[in-house]
């Protein structure tokens, strides 16, 4: 069984705003019964152009129902500009998180909101790039791009978790891989300016201090930065880390992940004996 947070369960058992708004200002339907989930959203604005009433009807699993319910609660009272800015991550966070495999439910919520707003503004804008990439689940290039960009996805599996694309016959995996590469290539350099060596060392030290050491210490271990040569980060471990057989894996995996995340994706961790 899936590990759902209490909040997900609560919204599933007591969903808010189920139904359809009468004389809606905007409506949208996303998903399909073949795909296993679908969401119909309708909203009405007040005189200040804020969302006064919003309702949903959802066919799908517990998390699809819970994310729909959460979305309606979140955007109630917002202007359309504000509602447009709600990301699928926000919806998931509102619910205390979703299992990775269920993130597509939050993406479905986000898409329905966007589409409903487009509908209010007068039909969907012309989408020249709305090419279907995944035939099995009818997922477009634009949807995959957006999911990759907003959620910083890097593997086909992640894209499947977030959009369902790739979860059927697998015929679209190559195309998905290409989209990931393309999107990551556009975003990577902008997000990470080139670091000078001093900057790099400083940053590494800071991250070790702030992000890594505390959790190692919890288990009675410690880590020390010995040197940085190019992208090689030499570290020494102490305490339980130094003797633990699993240290190799923990260190490489955990420290490398953190440093790559915060400093530079090219970094490689090497352990040296002090």
């Amino acid at each position: 069984m899936w590990e759902y947070t209490e909040k997900v369960k609560e919204h599933f058992l007591n969903p808010r705003n189920v139904g359809e708004v009468e004389n809606p200002d905007g409506i949208a339907e996303v998903g399909s019964i073949a795909c296993g989930d679908a969401l119909k959203l309708s909203f009405k604005l007040d005189e200040n152009k804020r969302i006064k009433d919003i309702k949903f009807k959802t066919f799908g699993c517990a998390s699809a129902i819970a994310t729909s319910s959460a979305l309606t609660e979140m955007v109630k009272g917002m202007t359309l500009e504000e509602a447009m800015k709600v990301t699928n991550q926000d919806i998931a966070a509102y619910l205390g998180g979703l299992p990775q495999e269920k993130m597509h439910c939050s993406v479905m919520g986000k898409q329905a909101m966007e589409k409903a707003i487009e509908n209010y503004k007068g039909g969907p804008p012309t989408e020249p790039a709305a090419q279907i990439i995944c035939e099995c689940f009818g997922v477009t290039e634009r949807e995959i791009e957006q999911a990759v960009r907003e959620n910083n996805l890097s593997t086909v599996e992640e894209v499947t978790n977030y959009t369902k694309a790739g979860g059927g016959c697998g015929g679209c995996h190559d195309a998905i891989r290409q989209i990931i590469e393309r999107v990551r290539a556009e975003t990577a350099p902008a997000a990470r300016p080139k670091l000078s060596n001093i900057q790099k060392i400083k940053m590494i030290e800071e991250i070790i201090d702030r992000e890594i050491r505390p959790s190692l210490k919890k288990d009675g271990g410690d880590i020390e930065l010995v040197d940085v040569i190019g992208n090689r980060v030499l570290v020494a471990t102490r305490g339980t880390c130094a003797t633990c057989k699993a240290a190799d894996i923990t260190l490489k995996h955990f420290v490398e992940l953190k440093l790559r995340d915060f400093v530079s994706p090219e970094l490689v961790i090497e352990e040296v004996t002090p």
């Binding site: 339907e29 019964i33 989930d37 009807k57 066919f59 699993c61």
Partner: protein
Amino acid sequence: MKTIYLDNNATTQVAEEVLDAMLPYFRDLYGNPSSMHTFGGQVGRKIREAREQAAALIGAGPEEIIFTSCGTESDNAAIRSALAAHPDRRHVLTSRVEHPAVKSLCDHLSRQGYRITELPVDKDGILDMTQYERALTPDTAVVSLMWANNETGVLFPVEKAAELAKERGILFHTDAVQAVGKIPINMKATSIDMLSISGHKLHAPKGIGIFYVRKGTRFSPFLIGGHQENGRRGGTENTPSIIGLGKACELAARNMDAENRMVLRLRDKLEAEILTRIPNSRVNGTRLYRLPNTTNISFEFVEGEAILLLMDDYGICASSGSACTSGSLQPSHVLRAMGVPFTMAHGSIRFSFSIYNTEDEVDFVIEKLPPIIERLRSMSPYWNAGDQVCSVQ
């Protein structure tokens, strides 16, 4: 909250008598059956007894029973042994609705260059025997067809299929994990060469299975090691579990008729009541050739995981073939192979009974389920209470 366990095709409760039979072999009688001393030897005797009990349940000889760790191991051992026995043959014949223990293995073999034929089934889950016969070729090393389907309970005519294979000199294996203990089986009267059993489906513990190999069948072991199981499966015996499984087989042989009558009555009552009380529901798989304890019912326009979780709130345990519960994004391969429409496939629920279920439990489900479905349908964008269609299609 009381647990109402209607998921007996997933696993069953260990029978009280089985547990009692096992306990001494954890604590006091922990000897190794291979030892020379009396202390170990007495355990060896108990294992012989268990082997006889297991053999009796399926009309086999004790020398045809190999204890394994689970049904999956038995399936793997059977298919791999058959391939090793016929290194010149490169074809495996199976069906689209097999358990992953067979299906995934066949996928794996196909990547290694074997030719795999997965026979289709019709909308009722029934195999086309003419098509089966045509798929048997001189290159076929082994046929593997399940006796009873775990999701729908539909029975394959494996005895007939085994005869046809035998006429052509092809080895025949059946995954009988769901069938053993639920339908009478007499191996002496069949041409089946190999058969898999899982202990925890018949009130023995998890982690123990049986691999039946007909006497005289060419065989090569899956686990190579000591002389245990006559050199056909190395590894120190899981003595308490083997003894427990022996007991479970004895109980099954003794009680099968009475149990079947009981679970059949409960299953039929639940099924009939659900179909009349809940519109747009239907049974998946033929109702003519089916295990007495299983029903697989689809509810149109709702999703299975949501149904399961709402039932879970009342302590009712069942399972679903919906995408969300199958661990993938598509509904179960069994329902897809049967061509169950998407509107139905995502909302399928399997109820499977055992001797421990009661009429009160069935009544409770009959009372709780209709409002659950209604509630989810009221949330579903596809459901308009106005345009219900006839519930029996």
